[in-house]
């Protein structure tokens, strides 16, 4: 096609690049158009709607300034939602990563490690709603007809636990979250660990490093960047936890008690959830809080995790 150029010589790079650049818009526009239309514009709309009072159903939004936000601050439901979300992000995150770290120490040199990893990973491809229903059944407390969890506890002589009692539910959900998501983070971290040259571990063996020292001096510093990315991923996904809590903590038909709510449940409840007319304005305000929370956490995390880039 580039007949103008002599054989054996590349076309002038400028010309080629310019032709390539002409592809940019046809290639980029469809995706970015959808992205802006369906994600950015609605996000802005949500921010705007957060300043209004609106119950939908033909009603028109009415500007109320910060009223929604002061309502949120005063609302117990919101307070629980916010604190629980924070709890799931922080405690669930710490638990998940501790577990993942513990696993990296062992899985690296374990036979059958790949199979184990695959098994641990599996819950991640199960719909959260199915997980929630499933946990709801296995965590049943019912003397003489216990769910699987209590059945196991009782069969080893431990008293059954009221997992689903409201005062326990946040911790149970945290546990379930850790169970369900640790496989994913184990996999990510293990992939990073696998990239660490084995001779570094051999050298630490010769130095006589304990597993903890190997983790502390080799694994952690060399996977730090991946840990950072994984932390961001965790934050992003933990902020929107919804189905698992909704189905696990409640009867499934109605919203669960507010004590177990997350921001995701709050937004859902206020917009499409429980009794009463929707409060789209309040829901949008809460959604804005979700964005703020995730932004603040991600920025903080990035700052906290900042280190020199490691070059091999």
């Amino acid at each position: 096609m580039s007949t103008a150029t002599a054989p054996g010589r590349p076309p002038a790079p400028g010309a080629h690049l310019a032709r390539k650049k002409r592809l940019f818009f046809p290639f980029f526009l469809p995706a970015v158009a959808l992205y802006v239309l369906f994600l950015l514009v609605p996000t802005v709309a949500t921010v705007v709607l957060g300043f209004t009072d609106w119950s939908g159903a033909g009603d028109t939004p009415e500007f109320t300034g910060l009223a929604n936000y002061s309502e949120l601050i005063a609302s117990d439901a919101f307070r629980y939602s916010f604190l629980n979300t924070l709890l799931y992000i922080v405690v669930g995150g710490v638990g998940t990563f501790l577990l993942a770290f513990l696993f990296t120490m062992v899985l690296r040199e374990m036979r059958g490690g790949k199979v184990v990893r695959a098994i641990l990973f599996f819950p991640n491809i199960v719909a959260p709603i199915a997980l929630g229903m499933f946990f709801g059944i296995i965590l049943v407390y019912r003397p003489n007809r216990q769910g699987l969890a209590n059945y196991l506890l009782e069969s080893v002589g431990i008293d059954a636990v009221k997992f689903l009692a409201p005062e326990n539910i946040t911790w149970v959900v945290t546990g379930c979250l850790i169970w369900a998501s640790s496989g994913f983070y184990i996999t990510i971290l293990m992939a990073a660990v696998d990239r660490i040259p084995p001779y570094l571990y051999e050298d630490s063996d010769i130095a006589g490093a304990t597993p903890w020292q190997k983790f502390r001096h080799v694994t952690l510093p060399l996977t730090w960047d991946v840990v950072g990315v994984a932390g961001v991923l965790w934050t992003i996904s933990a902020v929107k936890i919804f189905e698992l809590v909704f189905v696990l903590a409640g009867p499934g038909t109605y919203s669960p008690p507010i004590r177990s709510w997350t921001l995701g449940v709050f937004v859902f409840d206020r917009s499409f959830g429980d009794q009463g007319a929707p409060a789209y304005g309040t829901a949008c305000a809460a959604a804005v809080v979700m964005i703020l929370l995730v932004s603040v956490l991600v920025v903080a995390l990035r700052r906290l995790m900042r280190r020199d880039v490691i070059q091999y």
Partner: protein
Amino acid sequence: MTTTAPAGKRTPPRKPKPAPTARGLSPLRALGMAVVWLFTALNVLVLYWLVAAAFKTPIEIFTKPFALPRTWFERGQPFRNLLYAWDNAGFGRAFLITVVLVAVASVVIVLLAAPAAYALTRLGVRGSGGLTNLFAIGMGIPFQTVVIPLFIGMAEFDLTNDLFGLFLIYVALSLPFTVFLLTGFFRSLPDELEEAAAIDGASPSRTFFTIMLPLARGGLITALILNAIGLWNETLLSIVFLNENANFTLARALFAFNSAASYQSEYGGLVAGVAIVVLPMLVLYLLLARRIITGLTLGAGK
């Protein structure tokens, strides 16, 4: 000095001795091993429970969680729970809808995301980095944030309670992750092939379709699979955007079935419903575990 060992003198041990380093069990390692095995065993157990319970009566589910299912088999109705869920939760139709919706949406997502990712990484356009970050930010926006304006907006165009509307939303909301994932793949491709194609006189678009796309095949397939999994499990949007049973996706149907089945004490059916949603993913996973795992880690590691 010379030693020539007679052949066959040595018989290999059943398994070679581990290095002395691996032998010492530190408390931490012991703990780690215990947790790993416990965790793994638990996962296997739970999976077994799920599959077994899908064939059990409620009494069996709760009183003999480990026993193999019996009652329904004895009564000649081994698939009773699955049939119940299939009929009463409309899983039959939902299954079909989900398969088609997920398949078409995943393909379209990749078809849109691949050129965009290519444009962002390999066309040398100034500002590409910033635009890539713009897409990356989209991954951090929770669905809950956009669902209300989206719903109102879609309603304007009569696209609520409509599978095409849901399809559009699925495609649009999956783009940030997919574009981001694919930029990683395209960035890792060598320049030489593209240059060689240019020297051979291929037009830039032709280079993209005949050289770069096939090269990025691994990434495209990964993106396809990951989107398929994500959309298969998607619940929130389908709750909001689908009202009629006739349109329900599997996860949506399961959500509706959950409350109905509890009112009706239909634990067998409930577990079977969960199984119907989970098992196809299990099969897919067994077939593609490696690809899924490497894909996810690639996506995350970038």
